[in-house]
Amino acid sequence: MSAVRKPLSPFTGGLEQIGACGLFLVQILRAMPRSLRHFPETVRQIFFVGAMSLVIIMTCGLFVGAVLGLQLYDVLSRFGSSAMSGTVVAFALYRELGPVVTALLFAGRAGTSITAEIGLMRATDQLDAMEMMAVDPMAYVVAPRFLAGLIAMPLLACIFNAMAILGAHMVCVSWLGLDNGTFWSNMTSAVDVWIDVANGVWKSIAFGAVVTLIATFQGYTTSPTSEGVAYATTRTVVFSSIATLAIDFVMTAFLM
């Protein structure tokens, strides 16, 4: 029996983790109404995970857009379609790159800090102290961070997209000489706000939920040691990245 079960243990262990994460999500949702009592904490977390991530999101957005513009202009000009560069950049950003790259950056910047912060609170008995003061850590610590991720991620994705389009404009128009009117008019006539832009927003909301769920779960359930917090932080990045890309595929299939 054990010979059969042993090879399955990593698989069952993984399933167990997914199940525990699902139950953790239920706990967060149940704590959400009570967390509204701590709304200033939610605002503080939106600032922390949102505003504090702006520099990396804007910088990366600018360069991603610039590279995308450069590559697409080069490839499309071979087919005499360089005028479509702005349009293709916008499609790629709104539908895929914007939400996905923002989520990956968000996992690295905000997800890790959420995990480390909650993990250290666990290691230094701060969460137990809250419990002993009759303050529910799920409502005071976890739910505000989850809500903050949910709100901040679509906003960050929009800013990422805006900066990326600016980067593509700088390369295609200012540097490579594409006509400014062509760049914008092709883009605005081809991109549909309710299909292309909205799909990206839905995706970024889903990614925000998944990344912050994984980050808070890893921090809350971490082993209360420095090594445990380090592993939890690493797991946040790895699991968030995999989950983001997997969910992106599923959502794309449904939203197409």
């Binding site: 008995d125 701060q126 102290a129 002993m132 003061m133 009759a134 005071y140």
Partner: protein, 295 residues
């Protein structure tokens, strides 16, 4: 803000306690009743049929060798860690049958001083002490300020109100945690190793504070500590935990006389006795290869 007046206590006395009458005779109204407690953690039996009662309005010390389960017992009492068997009644309520809301309502009446202080690192000293007030009571800011400063004054840290926990020494953090534990004048306070890291001046002041809280407000206190000299000054009775059971129970002066092997070894600080100093291990000589290959 529940308080319970202790009967017939000498509120002004700072003198060390005399050997009181047998504690069992004092337990007319037990705040905590534990019976048949059994706990196994990671395959190790921590408690094996422990029965004890903590009288209301008294200071009771829980002592014992390191790793004997003193903090675990506190976690059982406060509903943080479930036991494998047994009943734990706090203020007449079975802790492990309470719903979450009822448990939180009970915890609002309990102050808990953690072993490592557990201050909220993002908050200043003032905000740490104010935290329970802000979370549970809608008080005017001026009143919150006055209560917090009063408690900080009691632990000698009113001047440190604006400092962050990272700017405090270990002893100061413990005193801030103590101020936070008493900020709502609880029914009961659990002090988990309150004397660690305190200099003699601070230690003396904290002892006075524990005594004053107990005598003037009748707050039931549970003291988990190793320092017999300090404990003897404030505790009415001591439970000595060892080998998963209550090894001895009585007033500090009685236990300090070392009339049983357990108390003799523990309070005398002797290496030999029923409590092994060494963790179970293989034969020393054999492990060092000095047994001539006999094993």
């Amino acid at each position: 803000m529940t308080t319970n007046r202790a009967p017939n206590r000498d509120a002004a006395s700072d003198a060390p306690r005399k050997d009181a009458s047998p504690p069992d005779a004092l337990i007319k109204d037990a705040l905590i009743k534990i019976s048949g407690l059994r706990t196994v953690l990671n395959g190790k039996t921590i408690f094996d049929g422990v029965d004890l009662e903590i009288p209301r309005g008294r200071v009771t010390a829980i002592m014992g060798p390191s790793g004997t389960g003193k903090t675990t017992l506190m976690r059982h009492i406060t509903g943080q860690l479930p036991p494998d068997a047994g009943n734990i009644l706090v203020d007449g309520q079975d802790v492990w049958r309470l719903g979450r809301e009822q448990l939180f309502a009970l915890r609002e009446k309990i102050g808990y001083l953690f072993q490592n202080s557990a201050l909220l690192t993002d908050f200043s000293v003032f905000e740490n002490v104010a935290f329970p007030l802000r979370q549970h009571l809608r008080l005017p800011e001026q009143l919150v300020r006055n209560i917090v400063l009063t408690k900080l004054q009691a632990v000698g840290l009113r001047g440190a109100a604006e400092l962050m926990p990272s700017e405090l020494s270990g002893g100061m953090m413990r005193r801030v945690a103590l101020a936070r534990a008493i900020v709502r004048d609880p029914m009961m306070i659990i002090y988990d190793e309150p004397f660690v890291g305190l200099d003699p001046v601070a230690l003396n002041q904290i002892l006075k504070l524990i005594r004053t809280l107990n005598q003037t407000l009748g707050i039931t206190s549970i003291l988990v500590a190793h320092e017999l000299a300090a404990v003897a000054q404030v505790a009415d009775s001591i439970y000595l935990l060892a080998a998963g059971k209550i090894a001895a129970h009585g007033p500090p002066a009685q236990l300090a006389r070392g009339e049983t092997p357990w108390t003799k070894q523990f309070f005398g600080g002797e290496a030999d006795g029923p409590v092994p100093f060494h963790y179970p291990a293989a034969d020393y000589a054999a492990q060092l290869g000095l047994d001539g290959g006999k094993q």
